[in-house]
């Protein structure tokens, strides 16, 4: 079975590419990035601000039990409906630094589309930090789950 989402991170480079084919027309795929409420739903975060225009900016914030656990922001450089978004992205208080993202939306058929995101980091080391993050979060989540079960046993 072919993997739907692919990551290409060549050794010795400070960039990576994420590609994904969607069972959605390109217009709907783009809308998922365009509308604040929709971004909130699939990203699983609150979107405090989303200005879809050149020199616009955006802000994400996620809270868990009343505490802010994730904050991210960026600036939009290019916004071409159904074609491309060029923007910066930064997770606050993370060692990854600012990254530059080139998002390309391509129509493959009337009902399917493809998204490719090229992400450029400050250095190869910053890219490595990015890759470690979900792994670390996954471990934390497993740990939280364990804690939850233990608390129930008490």
């Amino acid at each position: 079975m072919e993997q739907k989402t692919k990551i290409n991170a060549e050794e010795g480079k400070q960039e990576l590419t994420i590609t994904r084919e969607f069972d959605l027309p390109v217009e709907l795929l783009f809308k998922a990035y365009e509308e604040l409420e929709l971004v909130e739903q699939w990203m699983g975060t609150r979107v405090l601000k989303l200005e879809n225009k050149k020199h616009g900016s955006y802000q994400f914030e996620t809270s868990h039990n009343g505490q802010v656990v994730f904050q991210a922001n960026g600036t939009i450089h290019e916004f071409v409906p159904n074609q491309k978004i060029t923007r910066t992205f930064e997770i606050e208080n993370a060692p990854i630094g600012v990254q530059l993202e080139f998002l390309e939306f391509v129509k493959t058929t009337d009902d399917t589309s493809k998204l490719s995101i090229q992400i450029i980091y400050k250095s190869e080391r910053h890219r490595a930090e990015q890759l470690k993050l979900p792994f670390a979060n996954g471990l934390n989540m497993a740990h939280d789950k364990l804690q939850e079960i233990i608390n129930k046993l008490k």
């Binding site: 079975m1 993997q3 989402t5 990551i7 991170a9 709907l28 739903q41 699939w42 490595a128 979900p134």
Partner: protein, 106 residues
């Protein structure tokens, strides 16, 4: 979601890690791999199937025999933590697809 294809799940098992170490030195048939373990042959076959499904092992036909060898590229991905990152995006994009399909049908 097929849990078996999760590489991290695959390498969490000590027998499967032992299989990977064994095959790392040379390509081997299922029989030769099984002879290194006390476990029943079907159990070893199951482990080989899981490792093949998550692409840590590759099968190669050599005459009438099937040889297993290590997929170095996939092993490197595990080492580089690419898989959890990919999985995170895959989950996110699956969600996007569901959200937008519901949106369209509204």
């Amino acid at each position: 979601m097929n849990i078996r294809r999760d590489v991290f799940q695959a390498i969490a098992d000590p027998t499967r890690r032992a299989v990977l170490l064994l095959v790392a030195s040379q390509s081997m048939t299922a029989g030769a791999i099984a002879s290194n373990f006390d476990t029943a042959r079907p159990t070893v076959s199951k482990h080989l199937q899981i490792l093949t499904e998550c692409e840590l092992l590759k099968q190669e036909q050599n005459g009438r025999e099937i040889y297993y060898h290590l997929n170095a590229k996939k092993m490197k991905e595990v080492a580089d933590f690419i898989e959890p990152f990919r999985k995170m995006w895959d989950d996110r994009f699956n969600k996007l697809e569901t959200v937008m399909k519901n949106y369209k049908n509204k």
